[in-house]
């Protein structure tokens, strides 16, 4: 089977083009480094099926980050390269093009973002460019689909002019001469968009803009999340699902192991979807009724932020602070992703250049950045005691994030490289893309979370029956009760936190904790032991040794923080 590789600089629209060619939905955002691994899809090409690979963006074939190394490795396995080029910035993009042409692999160039050339005042002589490069050059707009048909028609015409290997200076000289012949730039006045772009990266105006955007993001997430819970999901569960469950409970005799497993405990005829811990009650209510609304709200807002191109500007503003934590500004992107789910966040640390940065970022994310599922439960349970307590949980985690980063920066050997990133222009989010991405992420959550949540509830019931929890509770009582000031049964939540944090926090609900204890429990649960999915990804990305180091840091940090909170509250 023919294998097509989509290659090009970061943030030129490879993933958007990939979705157009294959129909496979890929995550598309407006910042460099969205794709950190490759995605595979298939398309029809002249009656046959061809494989299409969406490679991470790379500026050159001399890699400077792990994502770029992946792109380079892929190159050895492809038959044809679709070189996606940013039409606005031909000069810089052509460096990779020339390197590809020297490789002897057949190339077709997709001149993407073509619609932008007009209002950005860039004129490109296509015919001349084709002639000078010796390969097909097709103008495209991947977001709208313009030029895709022509591109597909031209894939079989991909050729390799087999340019002789050149040095860096020779390549830049060649590019200079090509640009002189094919590109004309018209002078334009500053637009409103450009004024806004400038204001976003100036210290004072940028700071205000960042505060306004982050505050707005927080309130919109909360508004949508709470709105969905109060006006859609709770009514659905209470009016439609609850009667069915109560009926079923009656049929099953109202008690017994099987009853408790399926329906859960029903205390005094009252059905509590969070506390009953049955497969059909908590097993569905926690993922669908509590977490999903916040997942939808969070990823909708994150998707909009990603697609406008704001995140790289936030990276510039945060750079000075993040340097104190051993990171640079761009690490804000994996950290923000972590507020959704720690797994993609730790994968996204691949956009950072050094192993040291990746270790620090992954450790901080897994300890101090709570995922959306956990946050939804925090809002549900801790929020019921007053938003002030929620603020204490968030404030504590933020302080831990800062202090821990500061300590890691001082203790982990080596130094972290400096920020050097391209900042994409602002654009209005393409709504189709935003909604498609939201669907991908929400679906991904349901597909992964529901089986584990049901499994966790199964395990909880079996362990209760076997009396294992009592044994663990007695064994760990000195730490849990002595240090953290929690009832010894709270340890069950910490154990189940290894499977799913949302279910685990739910286990604190029936313990009749004081508000202070609930805060301590939430913070310790957030910090101690990432869920199993995060564990696996940390093991894969950091290796066994570094993962164990991160876990060591985690245990100490969680117990110290929990102990201090217990003394204060």
């Amino acid at each position: 089977m023919t294998r097509l590789l989509l290659m090009g600089n970061p943030n030129v629209g490879k993933s958007a083009l990939f979705s157009r060619l294959t129909g496979v939905k890929a995550i598309v955002s407006n910042y460099p480094g969205t794709t950190i691994n490759y995605t595979r899809g298939y398309m029809k090409l002249g009656g046959e099926t061809a494989e299409v690979i969406d490679a991470p963006g790379t500026y050159t074939l001399e890699p400077t980050s792990e994502a770029e190394e992946i792109a380079l490795k892929l190159l050895g396995s492809g038959d044809i390269v679709i070189n996606v080029v940013n039409a606005i910035n031909l000069e810089r993009n052509l460096y990779l093009t020339l390197q590809l042409l020297e490789r002897g692999i057949p190339v077709v160039v997709a001149l993407n973002l073509w619609d932008d050339t007009k209002h950005r005042g860039v004129d490109i002589d296509l015919e001349k460019l084709r002639q000078l490069l010796g390969v097909p050059v097709i103008p495209t707009v991947a977001i709208t689909g313009q030029g895709i048909k022509e591109l597909v028609e031209n894939i079989p015409r991909a050729t390799s002019p087999r340019r002789p290997p050149a040095t860096r200076d020779q390549r830049w000289a060649t590019i200079g001469s090509i640009i002189e012949q094919v590109q004309r730039i018209h002078h334009r006045h500053h637009t409103w968009r450009e004024r806004l772009e400038d204001a976003s990266v100036k210290p004072v105006s940028g700071g205000f803009i960042a505060l306004a955007i982050l505050a707005a993001a927080f309130f919109v997430v909360r508004f949508i999340g709470e709105g969905l819970i109060n006006y859609v999901l709770d009514p659905l569960f209470n009016t439609l699902w609850a009667p069915v469950i109560l009926k079923l409970s009656q049929l099953m005799g109202g008690a017994g192991f099987l009853h408790d497993m399926v329906v859960g405990k029903i205390i005094g005829g009252e059905l509590n979807f969070v506390e009953s811990f049955g497969l059909l009650t908590s097993g569905f209510y926690v993922p669908l009724g509590v977490v999903l609304p916040y997942i939808v709200a969070f990823y909708l807002v994150l998707g909009i932020l990603e697609d406008t191109g704001y995140l790289p500007r936030l990276a510039v503003l945060m750079d000075t602070i993040l340097h104190r934590l051993g990171l640079h500004g761009y690490a804000i992107i994996p950290n923000l992703l972590g507020l959704g789910c720690n797994v993609p966040a730790i994968l996204a640390t691949r956009i950072l250049e050094s192993k040291r940065e990746r270790f620090i970022a992954a450790t901080l994310i897994s300890i101090a950045v709570p995922c959306a599922a956990l946050q939804a439960m925090i809002f549900g349970l801790v929020g019921a005691r007053g938003l002030g307590y929620v603020a204490i949980v968030y404030g504590t985690l933020f302080v831990v994030w800062i202090i821990l980063g500061f300590i890691l920066n001082r203790t982990v050997k080596g130094f972290s490289p400096e920020l050097l990133i391209e900042i994409p222009p602002y654009r209005l989010p393409p709504w189709r893309m935003v909604l498609q991405k939201l669907w991908l992420r929400a679906y991904g959550f349901l597909a992964e979370a529901i089986p584990i949540i049901l499994g966790a509830i199964l395990v909880i019931n079996v362990l209760y029956i076997l009396g294992v929890f009592d044994a663990i509770a007695n064994f760990t009582a000195p730490v849990v009760t002595g240090l953290l000031g929690l009832p010894k049964e709270a340890v069950t939540a910490l154990v189940i936190g290894f499977l799913r944090k949302d279910v685990a926090l739910g286990m604190l609900a029936p313990l009749a904790l004081t508000s202070g204890q609930l805060v301590v429990g939430s913070v310790v649960l957030a910090m101690l032991f990432p869920c199993i999915a995060t564990f696996v990804v940390m093991f894969r990305e950091l290796g066994a040794v570094n993962m164990l180091k991160a876990v060591g840091v985690m245990i100490v940090a969680a117990l110290v923080t929990g102990g201090i909170l217990n003394l204060i509250l």
């Binding site: 500026y59 810089r92 830049w172 210290p203 940028g206 000075t320 400096e418 050097l420 990133i421």
Partner: protein, 95 residues
Amino acid sequence: MSRHMQGFGGRFKPQANLVTLAQLKDGQSGTVVEIQGGRRMTDRLNALGIMPGKKITKTSAMLMRGPVTVEVDRVEVAIGFGMASRLVVRPDHVP
């Protein structure tokens, strides 16, 4: 020109008509004269279109030795302060 400046241990010494990008004023344009860094730093900057001979305009600088943003070939690039201090620029108008 480049050999002349390398004698100062890689650190830029003030010289007539030349400043570092970190010293360039906000909104000011200039031409890149030299990148005083190793191969890796040079490669990374080149990849973003920043190399000797290029016209750049400084858009802004963050406080407390924060990153500098510049426009080069219609693209905005953010550069850490340390790197910006090793990028030698000839300003269009003498400051």
